[in-house]
Symmetry: D2
Subunit: 259 residues, 4 copies
């Protein structure tokens, strides 16, 4: 498939973005990342042990050639997130950051007000900002307006495994912004990824669903296949939904991906 | 993936079963069947033009090496279906048949009473019977009891594109029979296939979703990937569902595939 | 509301049918039945202690004026069910019976083949037969064809509390039979009743959802209100569903009740 | 039912809030408002023809004794909304306002950033502010923090008729704020109201679902009953959900209202 995804100046062939948290061990993580076919992997800057060397360091286990996407996990204010992004740029020289400003430790939901504030500053400082946000199309539009290179709405809360809880919201959001839409958080299993892609989203980022599956490497392979399946199904143009096949009029034609 | 699916004496590596109806033309059908990776393709005996020769004949366009699964589409009584299966055996010498006794032309729903009657006779005559049925676990058990080699519950009515409408019923059915469970009918898009497989079903049969997609070949490729994704995700053991990730207790653990 | 529901020769103003099982005690049951506004209550003939007298007897606690609907709970064959109905007629002289032939103790799913057999015999013997069945429209049509006065498809398995799991099937069923459709089994809470009624079903029968609620009497009142709400909403003609309000074309118009 | 709902200094017995838009004519509106049992009705200040007198004026047709809840429909910035609230207070002397700052004419989604700004100012000016917002628990908490007397999350976009699209989000929101939660927008039919109340929300505000039903007065009666049913069902404590009734372990216990 020669189709590519462009975010800022970065070009991707795989539409699956992966994370590095919660793995039982580094070797499993590496094997899963390879199986996922992902070209970009996100790392929580604040959780990185910068003093670790060699095999002790998470970075050692990132497959060669994978792009690093520093994220601001653990930040609960715009200021914290901004500082963390600056640190990431100093460390790796990269402009690409996943902006994540959470509201609290319990729900792990994004604080969209603080996220907007941070995004505005970071864009001005030249970052290519990928903000984690809710599935609110209006907030997504504001993030686009301040110059974010993409928006990353949740399918469901981080680590919940609930999948795309509100396909209608993602459909509206997809319609309302021009930048790429990456579904981030909530994925539990392969079909969740396929559903997100079938809604016309441009990519999916996931971590827990692979890292905490009973067999992470096999699940990574499943996610890769589901992502390609969902993208192809979206492009292939699905049949309409009908109450039964012989019915003449489709019943949910215009929201075909929603359930 | 060395894992195989055994139905009667037949062994399959692909878990996607395909059909031959509704394609715009034979070349497209052939290309789509190849893209699907399917090893078995179902043909409606009654709709086959047996006088057609060479490129005029549907059979000419079945990719080499694909197993033929004659079906009894167009039969509305047990007797009709039985006669059709006998004809198929005479034509191709195969014991394998997809038994389909529909109740009417409008809903295209199976008539489970007539299906049971036909299954009993056909099994006694040495056929390897794959019966199309509802998602009723009790009927499925009866079909298993009379000797069917697998059961093929619908996800939704033929041609509806509604996907798996009642995952709970498929879960119960899966639990209540020992023979392979093939979800047949209702698939609209790739995620529907993944969902069926994630519920622990052994294979999926589909036709309209590929044949009537805007780009059948691309959709066939999507279905192949989705089938593999769903199977791998099932085997990999998904994470539990929680209201949010930090919650200690899962909320839908035992029905993880259902939505 | 002057609208009435006619089943055979019996006329009802309330569309909520209730049961008598699983209550903590008889006084609570009586109070809940009164709160439900139900005019008919079903009793498992086989579980009735016919030797019990006065307050020891369940029948003592049925509110005056409520019609008794004997049911064949505990029967697993057509013969057992037929015998039980005959016994009920001897005991109470009523022609009205709820036919229930279950497949097994675990799933409590109906055995539609045995149910059909029993229904045919009972109708010939002059019973007004209300058969518990699956949501299979074809089986429902067969039950109608043999002369059942109504059909009682499940929303979900008995005692599951899952509500209407497949509104599409109920829609097709409702369209395919002329006799009244009573949703029986699966109700968990008030909205489940409203949903069943909004789909155009004629009544709802429930038991566990009231009997095993923390406050059965309050739940009975909730069910009464939900049943009236659902019926009124169905008759009032709901607005179409749209992705957002300003959209010109409805998205799920023809299956407005389904979700 | 002696239970009451308190919002600021205002006490309500009915938990159904109604609107005045989109009715075919004023007499129908009045009859529907009466049938709804609602004690409070919202009026778009900006759409009110203040020069209309007597029967020409919408206000003439508000049933006696119903509290007026001025809303800021038609406002797209915090400033506009603030000015509109001040005007409402001058007109009717009421402190109670429904704050609605929409993002655009097409989606009619709330602009949560502008809403937060306006809420903060209005609370300081002594208003009892009921803000229309998304189902984002974090934003709801912020609205509570600035002093709003309640929060009014949407079930779905205004006028969409899609019901509660994300019960999970409402559950989290309900858990995260202490002020009353009023579901506002998205209701299509009676069961939608029941579902919102079963999730533990304190009230529901709706307009289009009644005003644009084929029979608004009957639908108003349905909504009244559904609201009471949902509230009672919530308080009565529903049974757990199980795959089938004989199963020992509940499957969705902690998210009983979600589907």
């Amino acid at each position: 498939m020669s189709e590519t995804l462009r975010i800022g100046n970065h070009v991707f062939h795989s539409r699956l973005f992966t994370g590095t948290g919660k793995y039982a061990d580094f070797p499993t993580m590496k094997e899963a990342l390879l199986a996922s076919g992902s070209e970009i992997v996100t790392v929580a800057v604040r959780r990185l042990d910068l003093s670790a060397k060699g095999e002790e360091s998470l970075l050692h286990w990132i497959p060669e050639g994978m792009k690093l996407l520093p994220n601001t996990a653990g930040c609960f204010t715009a200021d914290d997130a901004i500082r963390t992004c600056r640190l990431a740029r100093e460390l790796w020289g990269s402009d690409l950051v996943k902006l994540e400003v959470l509201a609290d430790q319990k729900t792990l939901l994004p604080d969209v007000v603080e996220t907007l504030k941070a995004a505005e500053v970071l864009v001005k400082e030249g970052f290519t900002v990928l903000p984690y946000t809710t599935d609110d199309a209006v907030v997504a539009r504001k993030l686009e307006d301040v110059g974010c290179a993409a928006v990353m709405p949740l399918g469901a809360p981080i680590g919940s495994g609930l999948g795309v809880r509100n396909p209608y919201n993602l459909m509206i959001l997809r319609e309302q912004v021009k930048v790429p839409v990456l579904v981030d958080a909530g994925v539990g299993t392969a079909s969740d990824v396929a559903i997100a892609m079938e809604l016309g989203c441009d990519a999916v980022l996931l971590n827990t669903a692979i890292a905490c599956a009973k067999e992470p490497v096999r699940m990574a392979r499943a996610m890769k296949a589901a992502c390609e399946a969902g993208r192809d199904a979206y492009l292939a143009g699905r049949i309409p939904k009908k109450l039964y096949g012989s019915a003449s009029s489709p019943i949910e034609g215009t929201i075909s991906g929603a359930r």
